[in-house]
Amino acid sequence: MTTTLELSPRVVEINAAAEPAEQKSIEINNVTVSFKTPTGVYTAVKEISLEVKKGEIIALIGHSGCGKSTLMGTISGMVQPTSGEVKANGNVVTKPGPDRGIVFQNYSLLPWLSVYSNIYEAVDAALKDKTAAEKKALVEKNLKMVNLWSHKDKLPGQLSGGMKQRVAIARAFAINPSILLLDEPFGALDALTKSNMHVELLKLWNLDNREKTIVIVTHDVEEAIFLSDRVVVMNNGPAATIKEIVDVPLPRPRNKKEIVHDECYMAIHDKLLSLLIDKFSINDIH
């Protein structure tokens, strides 16, 4: 049902044409991240460069521990690159900021605060210039957007996993960032809830005229294709690099049910599987 809410691609094209050329939203220049561990220096990602356009959705995909979350961390400012630099909206990233909204893997809601307060405190901290009334209006707007206004007084512990993640998404949207960073956001959800969340996320992106840049870290191939314009496949760590970038030229709005029969979708799906998996059957195990 919600798929139909996506704006037609034509509207977006007109919007895009009005933009001055192509704007770079995120620039990752030769970034290496190393950590000191008791057993020595561990390099998570090595000399990675990547550019993301404004309004683009990209997926970072790879095996667990391949450094995709670390790379995401350099964009959000939660992780400092050991060398190289990351620019967000033209500014070098040194710490998290209100131009980048983050949705964490484990929802990261504060269990002692109501749904409402969880979002309000984030808005209050991130948007210091706004008046209390403006902040409250933002919280209300975003909670209604994810259909959780009636649950605003509940504690996170009283919500299902999907609802918690919607609160986390509403919180990230509420500070109206130009870049949205999602770190395995739907990894803990069941398949049905996950599908709904994909559609809801695209709906929110559409409502915002597809202006937000979204980076999503995932290990789910279907999720990556359905959501993104480009899929960045990473090598296994340590010292992970980009293995390949796969374009997803599927038209939007995309339909969950129909897309899986699309030849282009199937080709991308196959390609990604080949890049990620080297054993497809018991016959392949030697």
């Binding site: 959000s76 939660m78 964490f104 809601l109 901290a125 919180r171």
Partner: protein, 261 residues
């Protein structure tokens, strides 16, 4: 309607009565073996009733058991209160970083195992006043559990919660009031619960040393010096029950403020 008597509550009531009966039986046995050197429960009960007459009598030459209890409780309250006021902030600082932990922890580990009795003469030297010395003793001894538990709580704030503060740029004040304190609060309450137990345990020793007032003095003066073992037993029972009640108060608070992660 809520059931008041479920099978479980009935069973646990029966176990409780059974436990009491067992204790009474052992008590009777000991009384018989010692040829009533240790009085029987019935004899103790008589003395208990006698002690409980005019509990609030407050004459210069005689103070009722209630007055003594209240004076003990007020001393515990003051010592425990000041102790907690110091222990919670220090615990918060101690737990907030590895550096402060490494600076403060050795001092805590050295001072914590010191016997309450060793602090009494120090208090006496500082305050030149024995009631104040016993408050000082409670203060010092009730610091540690709260301090250690608070520090433990702060140092175990999950990374997820810290990330929220970092990602949305929480100010220092917001971080402390919205993340550190709510997360640490149940740990602080656990510390306070252990501390009040220690404080209540220490008061009797303190009052025995300082003399003059309180339950400790009652045990020593009216019980031992007065030659009434029954009065010692009565005092032990009262001390035990009040200690239990204090514990229950903090347990209730703990339950009230625990949250499901």
């Amino acid at each position: 309607m809520k059931k008041i008597f479920s099978v479980n509550t009935l069973l646990s009531a029966l176990y409780f009565i059974g436990g009491l009966a067992l204790m009474g039986g052992i008590w009777e046995l000991i009384a018989a073996i010692t040829k009533h050197e240790i009085p029987t429960p019935a004899m103790t009960w008589d003395v208990f009733k006698e002690v409980m007459q005019n509990p609030m009598q407050n004459d210069p030459d005689y103070k009722g058991i209630g007055v003594k209890l209240l004076s003990s409780l007020s001393r515990v309250g003051i010592g425990f209160g000041f102790g907690s006021l110091i222990a919670i902030p220090i615990g918060l600082i101690m737990g907030s970083s590895k550096i402060t932990m490494n600076i403060i922890n050795p001092m805590v580990q050295i001072l914590r195992p010191v016997s309450p009795l060793a602090w009494f003469p120090l208090g006496l030297a500082i305050f030149q006043d024995s009631p104040q010395a016993s408050i000082f003793m409670i203060f010092i001894c009730s610091l540690w559990p709260t301090l250690i538990n608070t520090a433990f709580g702060v140092s175990h704030i999950p990374q997820d919660h810290k990330n929220v503060g970092k990602a949305f740029g929480f100010s220092r004040w917001k971080y402390i009031t919205k993340i550190v304190l709510p997360y640490t609060f149940p740990h602080i309450l656990t510390g306070l619960r252990l501390s009040i137990g220690v404080a209540w345990m220490v008061i009797v020793a303190g009052e025995m040393l300082s003399g003059g007032m309180g339950l400790g003095y009652f045990v020593w003066e009216e019980g031992f010096n007065g030659g009434s073992v029954a009065k010692i037993l009565v005092a032990i029972i009262i001390i035990g029950i009040v200690g239990l009640l204090l514990d229950r108060i903090f347990m209730t608070l703990q339950k009230r403020f625990s949250f499901a992660g």
